[in-house]
């Protein structure tokens, strides 16, 4: 009697195993082709957002406590430093209008289209949670109510970070340029040659693909966005060429680019319109 029961239980478990594993494999392939997990996340965003904030709470509390406990002297020193920085930067900014005018004039001479640069910038805060290590995505605290759009450019103070890839009610997902699924068209600032820059999942490295062996490229070359991909505006910093492997047996050069933006240590990011 008992052995029969055990047997029935066994068969039931195997049926369950087969059912669930086939269901999850089906979900997996359907999701890769149709990307409907975004929709699922959108539906449950009211539940997901509190979980994210709860997970981000300890670090946030630690940060606010540490700012609360900073001494007055430190704050004064920091303020002085920042004032100096602002002064230097506003000095640099003074020259920008005249440069813009000059640029416009030169472009007119070359009969090239004058693409206006984006005007509006807005800050967004990161929700710092630990996502899966295989993807390079971050979550920011701005959602649909701030008129974000898919493909919007996200930058930090030194370079380009990525693009908005998913918008929910209270949070959005930004795919970083280092994500293995991400690629963008850059320009070598020294030679004006176009380069495809794609991520490999490592936050300290990007790879430049399909560069012919005789291409003029050097270590230390600066790569900027080209504006030709219709996603990122022109002229933002992507990174610097760090390693070039020239192997005669390969069809293409093996070029690595170090991203200029601090992809892992930001607390705030900027959204461009």
């Amino acid at each position: 009697m008992s052995s029969e029961l055990h047997f029935r239980n066994e068969r039931f478990i195997i049926t369950k195993l087969l059912f669930f594993s086939f269901l999850s494999i089906f979900f997996l392939f359907a999701d890769i082709n149709l990307k409907y997990s975004n929709e699922v996340r959108k539906k449950f965003s009211h539940v997901i957002q509190p979980i994210y904030s709860l997970a981000a709470l300890p670090l946030g509390t630690y940060n606010s406590i540490s700012t609360y406990l900073t001494s007055r002297n430190n704050l004064i020193l920091k303020k002085k430093e920042l004032e100096k920085k602002v002064l230097i930067q506003s000095g640099i900014i003074q020259k920008i209008p005249s440069l813009q005018e000059e640029n416009k004039r030169l472009k007119k001479l070359l009969y090239s289209a004058n693409n206006s640069s984006s005007s509006k910038i807005q800050m967004a805060e990161l929700i710092r949670v630990n996502l899966n290590p295989f993807h390079n995505k971050i979550i920011i605290n701005e959602g649909r109510n701030k008129n974000l759009f898919i493909g919007q450019t996200v930058i930090d103070s030194v370079g380009i970070l990525g693009q908005v890839s998913e918008i929910n009610n209270d949070f959005s997902v930004v795919t970083l340029i280092t994500d293995p699924d991400h690629a963008l068209l850059g320009i070598n600032a020294r030679t004006n040659k176009r380069i495809i820059i794609s991520g490999i999942g490592d936050n300290r490295k990007l790879i430049a693909k399909y560069i012919p062996l005789n291409e003029d490229i050097q270590e230390g070359d600066i790569i900027i966005t080209s504006g030709l991909d219709n996603v990122f505006p022109e002229g933002y910093l992507i990174g610097q060429v760090s390693i070039i492997n020239r192997k005669e047996s390969n069809d293409f050069l093996n070029v690595f680019v170090t991203p200029s933006s601090s992809l892992s240590s930001n607390r705030e990011v900027m959204l461009l319109w």
């Binding site: 478990i13 369950k16 195993l17 669930f20 594993s21 269901l23 999850s24 494999i25 089906f26 979900f27 997996l28 359907a30 999701d31 890769i32 409907y36 997990s37 699922v40 996340r41 449950f44 997901i48 979980i51 994210y52 709860l54 997970a55 981000a56 300890p58 670090l59 710092r128 949670v129 630990n130 996502l131 899966n132 290590p133 295989f134 993807h135 995505k137 997902v173 293995p180 490999i200 999942g201 936050n203 892992s264 240590s265």
Partner: protein, 158 residues
């Protein structure tokens, strides 16, 4: 009794999800052990008739949604691993905690193999060394996790 088991296990699983989401330094992140998986393993060892494949599948889906992974990735891995536990729990339960580490190694090995296999299939890049270290860390924290969850079980589920 049964509803108590459900309540306590769901609560600990939710807490482990949130701990899993805690931000860690960039250096440590790749070696993060699959905490939810380990907690699931504990509960299915303790109550294999109650905490079984349905739990594994549902929490796997929750994990996929939260971690921005393709839907079904974790659900698949958890289902396979919990199936092994349900098959082997009579043997594993008899071991001391120290010996359980080794049987856990055998249980978790398919988990990591499957995860790298799925990564390959989906073109997700990964580092095999990171996977191995994460596996070793997860068996090293098992005794601690075991005693904590055992304490919870003895206190709240008589």
């Amino acid at each position: 009794m049964v509803s108590k088991v459900h309540f306590v296990s769901i609560l600990t699983l939710l807490i482990s999800i949130i701990i899993n989401l805690f931000p860690l330094p960039e250096l440590v992140t790749p070696y993060k052990p699959p905490l939810l998986m380990l907690v699931l393993i504990y509960w299915s060892l303790a109550f294999p008739k109650i905490i079984n494949l349905t739990y594994a599948f549902v929490f796997g889906i929750i994990m996929d949604v939260l971690l921005l992974m393709p839907l079904g990735y974790n659900a698949f891995l958890y289902t396979i691993t919990i199936y092994l536990i349900i098959k082997l729990y009579p043997q594993i339960r008899l071991h001391s905690v120290r010996n359980q580490i080794f049987s856990l190694l055998i249980i978790l090995f398919p988990y990591f193999i499957m995860s790298t296999f799925t990564n390959n299939m989906l073109n997700i890049s990964y580092d095999i060394l990171e996977v191995l270290i994460s596996m070793i860390i997860s068996i090293l924290i098992w005794p601690l996790l075991f005693s904590v969850l055992r304490f919870i079980r003895l206190k709240y589920i008589a």
